[in-house]
Amino acid sequence: MELIRPDINVNFVAFRYKAFLISGFFILLGLAAFVWRGGLNLGVDFAGGTLIQVKFNKATNPEEIRGALKDLISQGAIQQVGASSDQEYLIRTDLNTPELQNLSQTVEEKLTAAYGEGNATVLRAEMVGPKVGHDLRQKALYAIYYAVLFISIYISGRFEFKWGISAVMVAVLIVGVYLLEALGINVTAVIIGALLVTLILCWVLKLPYAMGSLLSLIHDVLITAGIFILLDKEFTLEVLAALLTLIGFSLNDTIVVFDRIRETLRKGRNQNFHDVINASVNQTLSRTILTSGTVVMVVLCLFLFGGTVIHDFSFALLIGLISGTYSTIFVASPILIFFEDFHKKRPVRKRASSSS
């Protein structure tokens, strides 16, 4: 049985500008949402605060719950989580009380009073102090940074065989980040700066494969984060883990295509680069769709049947996987073309002037 015809030959390369437009649209949408919502909706892990998850046996809604809790949670957010049939809600406040047990008990008592005996149960309660929240934010940023860094080294080494240069680049970046951090500059700014520098270095040092993979990764992260912001979903530690996982996963796909491109390039010299790219993407299309398909199938099961706690995690993975497949086909390889086109222009001009 074959889902994708073996001799399929879609002209992906010609589609690349339109693809960039589509990607650009979604990324801009995410950025706009970021500005509109005023930043990421950080979970209690990162922002500090208290979170209480309650299960109701009757249908209800956030307004009713807030009414039942009145003065207790004056300034909190109440959100439904999971499937509509679960009737589970997350109550979130910025209260930083060491008396968490008391708070969660009081919440249960008040809700039981309002909804009836046994109709409201506190499933879990979490309190994170501001210090811990701050620490976790730092850790998260570094985790993203280091993941991207190590992956850059690996890609550069494997595909360009320029282990030396990439190692030097990474060393410079690590030292640079360390120094900037010691100077007390905002960590987020430093990391974004470092990413930009990495990209520029890839361009300058002629590491197109690394650059292509990095850009496709950043694309996936931005789109997933953007959708989260748009839907006002909480960005928790689990969501970060999902992001890091899909970074690794999206890279899988990209590597498979790059491998094929390299293999095809080795076969002969006089090949039109556009044709090579097209052929490689088409040849690996079957495998890309199948793999993503099976993982999406499994994650979808998690999303539908896995319960509320893992809901957001599977949602992030789902979006990331779809975006990852898209970026493999439409983003990673075209970047190589841009690079090649840009660097080819100069030699052409040289030849033209020398021959005259």
Binding site: Q101, R124, M127, V128, V132, L244, T245, R287, V299, L302
Partner: protein, 532 residues
């Protein structure tokens, strides 16, 4: 041929080891003959699957240093009095220093001598003339400050561990985190409130004298005589059965603390059937107690716990033998918990709760069942798909998949890793990714077959070309998993661990195991065609 035999043996051996490590998790007890041979490690369940409480405490080590400085100030006062050196005030200054106020500069040399001889950890920082007199500042040396801090944190860890041991939680996990934090995990705990009270209680027991001549002031601002302090007192009114709060004036000087307690037990008062805690002191404590009670017969001695007076009985006579009892308005549970903290010792410094998570057992159970259900459904879908799409080869891939999951689970049991809800999701992910490796190989084989190669040649070519790509792909996700392990906590770590083990196992099952099966069929059984 030989190569195949060795590979087949390797696969069978690993399969066996995998099953063996998984047995303890699924059978409650091992049959008697096997206990010595088989490993006993089970898979640990994380808090999000078991229910329980997770705490991160911060030891306020600075307080410990301040307390020590206070104590040194008291001792210095005593020494100065003994040496008849004039002073108007000896107290802790702003940080870790003691300020001594003397009427003039004359006695400064004596002060220096006393300080040098008896207080090696203090050093003279300077002196200045103030309107009230000569103010000399003594500072605690840096090394001592560090030492006290480290000691406080280590002691706090031990004390909390002792308390939890006595509380009786199965498989508690208490470990230091960073420089001054302690992480506590209590899986399956039924009464988190009580555990929290037990852990956070400083439990500083002090014996002080009641200043009988003074009545507690009506308002807060009213002053008490020098050397006295007002303390709250809890008192059970036996007639009404209610706890009454009142105030009592005590001499601030602590005669003795609870550091000499060797044992604390709960007993019942024969008269009212009320629980009380009986204490036993070590020889040094017994001596001090004897001296204190002998010097203060007929006076009232207050027993102060964490700054609140529990009882203030009259000392009838000198008490030797090193025993005392604390009566008060306790419930049986309160008395038991009090005995636990007194036995385990006081915390050297207060602890602050930085992070607290409680997961109810209902949610834990729910999470397990839902997580496993989702993974099973996903897994079955994938298995069915592989058979439909790749026919017999799909079946082989499915076997490798099952083997992969087996290795992940037994690997976790072997390493004593913790399974969390994200970990279950990780296993689901592995199911999807394990298929990827096989898809890579099979698509390659199909390509080679289309080019006209024989099944055997196609098989070889497929595996050859795909292996490097599979390794690449697994390595990149592995990098992400390792980073997550480094920077993640709790449930995320569980995810990283399952992912890592799964990826490594995947390399084995997708490449080696499936190859062995195909080779066996092609070589030994001389199957000519490839059902793929």
């Amino acid at each position: 041929m030989k190569n195949l035999k060795w590979r087949a043996i390797l696969v069978a051996a690993i399969l066996l080891v995998g099953i063996v490590y998984l047995v303890p998790t699924f059978t409650p007890t091992l049959p008697p003959g096997w206990i010595g041979i088989l490993p006993k490690d089970k898979i640990h369940l994380g808090l999000d699957l078991q229910g329980g409480m997770h705490l991160v405490l911060e030891v306020e080590a600075n307080k410990a240093v301040e307390n020590t400085v206070d104590r040194l100030a008291e001792e210095l006062k005593e020494r100065l009095r003994e040496a008849r050196v004039a002073f108007s005030k000896v107290a802790r200054g702003k940080k870790y220093d003691i300020e001594v106020l003397m009427p003039d500069a004359q006695q400064q040399a004596n002060l220096r001598e006393i300080a040098d001889k008896n207080f090696p950890v203090l050093k003279m920082a300077g002196s200045e003339t103030t309107p009230e007199g000569m103010m000399v500042q003594l500072v605690m040396v840096e090394t001592e400050v560090d030492h006290i801090r480290k000691l406080a944190i280590a002691q706090a860890l031990e004390t909390i561990r002792n308390r939890i041991d006595q509380f009786g939680v199965s498989e508690p996990d208490i470990r230091p985190e960073g420089e001054d934090r302690i992480m506590v995990q209590l899986p399956g705990i039924k009464d988190p409130q009580r555990a929290l009270a037990l852990i956070g209680k400083t439990a500083l027991l002090e014996f002080k004298l009641v200043d009988e001549g003074v009545t507690p002031p009506e308002t807060k601002e009213a002053k008490v005589p020098a050397g006295d302090k007002v303390y709250p007192m809890k008192h059970l009114d036996r007639t009404t059965g209610r706890t009454v709060e009142s105030q009592i004036v005590l001499q601030d000087k602590t005669l003795m603390t609870g550091e000499y307690i060797t044992d604390a037990k709960v007993s019942l008062d024969s008269q009212y059937n009320a629980p009380y805690v009986s204490l036993e002191f070590d020889p040094q404590g017994a001596r001090i107690f004897e001296r204190v009670t002998a010097a203060n017969v007929k006076k009232r001695m207050a027993i102060v716990l964490d700054g609140a007076v529990y009882s203030a009985p009259v000392i009838q006579e000198k008490i030797s033998g090193g025993r005392a009892s604390i009566t008060g308005s306790f419930s049986m549970e309160e008395a038991r918990d009090l005995a636990i903290v007194l036995r385990a010792g006081a915390l050297p410094a207060p602890v602050k709760i930085l992070e607290q998570r409680t997961v109810g057992p209902a949610l834990g159970q729910d999470s397990i069942s839902k997580g496993i259900l989702a993974s099973l459904i996903g897994g079955l879908l994938v298995i069915a798909f592989m058979v439909v799409y790749y026919k017999f080869a799909g079946l082989v891939a499915d076997f490798a998949l099952a083997f992969n999951v087996l290795l992940v689970l037994s690997g976790m049991a072997a390493f004593g890793a913790t399974l969390t809800l994200p970990g279950i999701a990780g296993i689901a992910l592995i199911i999807g990714m394990a298929v990827d490796a096989n898809v890579l190989i099979y698509e390659r084989i199909r390509e080679e077959l289309r080019l006209g190669k024989t099944p055997k040649a196609a098989l070889d070519a497929g595996y050859d070309k795909a292996t490097l790509t599979i390794i690449d792909a697994n390595v990149t996700t592995l990098i992400a998993a390792v980073v997550l392990f480094q920077f993640g906590t709790g449930p995320i770590r569980g995810f990283a661990v399952t992912l890592t083990i799964g990826l490594v196992a995947n390399l084995f099952t997708a490449i080696v195991v499936t190859r062995v099966i195909f080779d066996y069929l092609m070589i030994q059984r001389h199957i000519k065609t490839l059902s793929i």
